[in-house]
Point group: C2
Chain length 304, copies 2
Amino acid sequence: MFKIPDHQVAGHQASNGMMGPVVDDSGLFFKPLQKDERGSKEVAFYESLASNIDVPDKIRAYFPTFHGTQLIPASDGSGLHPHLVLQDLVSSYKNPSIMDIKIGSRTWYPQASEEYIQRCFKKDRETSSLALGFRLSGLQVHVSKEAGYWKPDRKCFQNSSAEIVKNVLKKFVSSNISADSDAGDLDFDCAFAPSVYGGSNGILAQLLELKSWFEDQKFYHFYSCSVLMVWDKEPNAAAAIKLVDFAHVVDSKGAIDHNFLGGLCSLIKFISEILTDPHACPNNLALIAIRTAMAIALIGEPEY
Amino acid sequence: MFKIPDHQVAGHQASNGMMGPVVDDSGLFFKPLQKDERGSKEVAFYESLASNIDVPDKIRAYFPTFHGTQLIPASDGSGLHPHLVLQDLVSSYKNPSIMDIKIGSRTWYPQASEEYIQRCFKKDRETSSLALGFRLSGLQVHVSKEAGYWKPDRKCFQNSSAEIVKNVLKKFVSSNISADSDAGDLDFDCAFAPSVYGGSNGILAQLLELKSWFEDQKFYHFYSCSVLMVWDKEPNAAAAIKLVDFAHVVDSKGAIDHNFLGGLCSLIKFISEILTDPHACPNNLALIAIRTAMAIALIGEPEY
């Protein structure tokens, strides 16, 4: 009835007898409550969000649906354990390509313990968080039915330079990829960039909608929270972003979440450059069409 | 010929025999080069900006005009010393109200020395930088010809809560103020908010234009840099913002300046709330008119 998820790319995983999330057949994702205050804080956030009538529905859709908590058998065989019951974000995709991006140059909040702050501070400096405003926490890219997935160890990517991150974001939406190549060694074609990143419902449009909310909202500050990007080559599988991991959400104390917003804007710039920079994937005709349309919108129709 | 500026609100000041900036009668501001690498780094930034043809003119106007460097007598009487020669930003104002706001939740850059990082890190945590994404570095508000200026010690404000910062930003544009009151004790009328913060050329519009550039530019990361806001009750003195202090500008390494951008968005939210929140200065008729116009723009004309 409960099984280990097929497509988890980051976070604690139920394998080798460890406690981790499980899914069922009906599209639910069961995340074990962490035993320290993180578990209760994540529940408190989901309950606050559920009752916050000032969060617009279109923004609420970027969070996993919350179905309360439930005692179910823990994946490590230790007996009943309380779990968050959430929407399984990837159950509707057949071969999902997934990227988990931890947003913010700072993953710690002022009220945390000194020990926790120092640990996060060190990690933020060692990874790309400090330089780029985010770090890649995990990813898988579907290559083909035969080759399966490219699923690099996150240690290979969370300390990446801007150049490497850009290449990973290109590889995420390219067709000329293999499961064993890294992200630095090919001129990726970005064949799926127009449909996945672009368009009025694509990932860039969704990120921009989320950004508008973050420019305004003063309810929550999200630390160590991720944007999950998911898509699939199946014709009816829409590309989507979701926010995940809320064990470190704190009250805003009257200011917007400038830390999350800054990192989000940095990610947006990376993705929008893939769509607009004429030097990125110069042979992709669909991208050239998008760029031409954007240039015309900016400077007006050419006179013939 | 050279004299100590009348209206400096932050930074090293030429008083008590210390070396500090001086001005002349022609509208120039002479800033002594700091003796360590900060001086040469600030010159290098101004030279880079001057030759960077990809910075739009409308954005360049937010920086002080740069006239090279010059050996002039230091204000501390120690003889000739190299100075940056810059536009005097307040020479065209008669009774300027000025606020110096250091932008960014983090004032240190990854390449700095460990000792410098730890010192800034401590200060960012002790002040409002961490919580709000900026801190008030200094300010003066013109009260009246008789009463002069309200010029609080910056120690009173750089550790402020969101509530206090909002009140300071209200007091900055109010007529019912005194020189000795603090910012917490009055219901300020925000009489000048529509003309100073609002309007198509007001401070909010300028901050939004700067924000657009920061969402895009990947030339510079600005650490420990301030936004200076200046205005004057004189009829022909336009409210203006300028960026100042570039001793800690570093290369972007391929990402936008998410740290500066996040703090700038936070400041923008504070100022836009003064213009739009119906609970802020509810008796200010000009503000009510602005809010009504914005509501109509959002939801359409009411039907009578």
